[in-house]
């Protein structure tokens, strides 16, 4: 059963590839990167021990091509493949292919992935394991009349979701029956293009729910524990933007209940590896099973910060056949962690993606600050992939400290060349409702109905005005001096200023 892993191929890109490569280094393992033509100089390629080109920019020509990934794994002699999240992470066919080729797929078995990846089956499994679920049903996008009847049974407002999908893709909220047909068509088409599977299902849409999920770890020997919850309620269009652990809402009792529920479904489905059981929680504290993500989550670092676990290390150990070596009573939670997803998007323009070269890029650090970044200065952010460029994860002894420290780290962060969500996160950290921990998935819509996040205060406006005036003033003085360099009066003063300016110009331009 025990299989040793010495070399890992990372079938991914961006920050998660960097995250896994770092874990390899931290464990003394060799890392193999793959990259598309758009990622020739990407940071994950630079950081890995080995790197191989696997095709054109489109992920359907590179990161999603099973044959190419398997080829590189064999060529480089990798024992195992880590899929990260997205791409092939929840692809049962690929996991099976790895097994057939004798390569360890770092994740659950193909059977588990297939079963839990199908939301209908996962829902059934949850019901069998006695987990509460929200009312819902599968529909046939081609038969709209029938689908509409089902929708009426489930009760509007409803949520349309891709059966094969995750991460909010293909998801649509529909408030009224009139909007239903168009939304089903659009969701099904998005699902088809994103997952190659147009099937969708519907669920009753809970009012102002919280999104809270439980991290689990299960080994090959029947041991299964949970590492507490993450609250991921700050979302837009079902895309998580800010996550934290612990949830400001979850009591010790609720944590225990939800943790036990998560372990129950994991055990009933023979789950092995790291996984996440997602729940919706209403304002009364009733929780409903949502889905199981059979992979590492984007937001896994907040759990790492409060538990001291390295989840990638645990994934590798489990894949090797190791026994967990600890039980639920050994798990300790300490402090509070917050993650901000730094995306190449313009929040003020409805979060439209932004791409380009990072002309400046400086990450914050210091006590309690971690940045999982897929880019460095001068990196190009291509248009082809997810806009997530980095994650800022901050630990504080309590939620208040974590928020203030996150605010500080956001201020220290420097990015230019692209629009990012930095200013958005600054606004949320200053938001009184957020500070009070009154979260729900409607938070953004309620607090920022017009997508205006950035509120300039007087000091910022005044300083900007002075900066602009000074910029023009100095150019005018420069022109005045060159036009009038023989003039004696005022000249000495200018010269002195100029000398000082040079003295102080430690810039990069010289």
């Amino acid at each position: 059963m025990k299989r040793s892993i010495r070399k890992i191929l990372i079938a991914n890109r961006g920050e998660i590839a960097v995250r896994v490569i770092r874990a390899c280094r931290d464990m003394g393992l060799t890392s193999v990167a793959v990259y598309s033509e758009a990622d020739c100089t990407a940071y994950h390629v630079r950081l890995a021990d080995e790197a191989y080109l696997i095709g054109e920019a489109l992920s359907s020509e590179s990161y999603l091509v099973h044959d190419k990934i398997i080829d590189v794994a064999k060529k480089s002699g990798a024992d195992a493949i880590h899929p990260g999240y997205g791409f092939l992470a929840e692809n049962a066919t690929f996991a099976q292919r790895c097994a057939d080729e004798g390569i360890i797929f770092i994740g659950p078995s193909p059977k588990t992935i297939a079963m839990l990846g199908d939301k209908i089956q996962a829902r059934r499994a949850a019901i069998e394991a006695n987990l509460p679920v929200v009312p819902g049903a599968e529909i046939d996008a081609a038969n709209v009349h029938k689908a509409l009847e089902t929708a009426a049974d489930v009760r509007f407002p409803i949520l349309i979701k891709a059966t094969a999908g995750g991460g909010g893709k293909g998801m649509r909220m529909v408030e009224k029956a009139e909007e239903f047909e168009e939304a089903v068509k659009r969701a099904s088409s998005e699902a088809l293009s994103a997952f190659g599977d147009g099937r969708v299902f519907i669920e009753h849409f809970l009012q102002r729910p919280r999104h809270i999920e439980i991290q689990i770890l299960c080994d090959h020997h029947g041991n299964c524990i949970h590492l507490g919850e993450r609250e991921c309620s700050i979302q837009r269009r079902h895309q998580k933007l800010i996550e934290e652990s612990p949830s400001p809402f979850v009591t010790e009792k609720l944590r225990q209940e939800m943790g036990e529920a998560a372990i129950k479904i994991a055990r009933s489905t023979g789950y092995v590896g790291a996984g996440t059981v997602e729940f919706m929680v209403d304002q009364e504290g009733h929780y409903y099973f949502l889905e199981v993500n059979t992979r590492l989550q984007v937001e896994h670092p907040v759990t790492e910060m409060v538990t001291g676990f390295d989840l990638v290390r645990e994934q590798v150990r489990i894949a090797e056949g190791d026994v967990l070596g600890y039980d639920q009573s050994d798990i300790r939670f300490s402090g509070h962690a917050i993650e901000c997803r730094i995306c190449a998007e313009d929040p003020e323009q409805g979060f439209v993606p932004s791409s380009g070269v990072l002309k400046n890029y400086r990450i914050p650090s210091g006590p309690g600050v971690r940045v999982d970044s897929g880019v460095v200065i001068f990196s190009e952010v291509p248009v082809y992939y997810d806009p997530l460029i980095a994650k800022l994860i901050v630990w504080g002894k309590d939620r208040d400290e974590a928020i203030l420290r996150t605010r500080r780290a956001l201020d220290e962060y420097r990015v230019s060349g692209l629009k990012t969500t930095l200013g958005f996160h600054q606004a949320v950290m200053d938001n009184a409702t957020f500070r009070q921990g009154k979260l729900s998935t409607s938070f953004l819509a309620e607090e920022y109905p017009d997508n205006r996040f950035i509120q300039l205060d007087d000091t910022v406006r005044e300083t900007a005005a002075i900066a602009l005036a000074l910029d023009k003033f100095l150019r005018a003085r420069k022109i005045a001096v060159s036009n009038n360099s023989s003039s004696r009066r005022g000249d000495s003063n200018w010269k002195q200023f100029h000398r000082r300016k040079n003295l102080r110009n430690f810039g990069g331009s010289r």
């Binding site: 994103a194 005044e462 910029d471 023009k472």
Partner: protein, 170 residues
Amino acid sequence: MLRYLVTIDGHEYDIEMEYRAEGFDVSLNGKKRKVIQYKLGESRSLLLVDGQSHEVDVRGGCLDSSKIIFMQGQEIPGQIEDYNLAQLRKTAGMTTAAAIDRTVRAPMPGLVVEVKVAKGDSVTKGQPLLVIEAMKMENIIKAQGDGTVKEIYVEVGKSVEKAGKMLEFE
């Protein structure tokens, strides 16, 4: 001493500025400020405004009246004019606002997956014009006002650059 009219986020500032050996004397809508500047690079500098520390980055062409100021992780657009010229302009009732653009430009780089209108079509405000796929999300581009489509510059299956011309109204 030079005098400017600066507009930031809809607020106007009347700024007078003078260079002194120990820093700049600034009058901002009549309030006195002592400003020390240290250059950090081509466009970046550290400003100490009455001791308050701010890292700023002023971007834009030398002669542009519209510039962008980066500070505290934010991008702030601003306009600057010579104060006297601005007064003249105001008296003459002129405006600096740009002409309204009849061109629909791509808000992001992406792939055109659907064109929902044809040349000559009359459209009303809010009507979907095109669908662009970017970073795996479909984005519907809607009409910002009523009009007639004069020209379409994009095709389904082709990519479009950020701010690339997509469509023009008459």
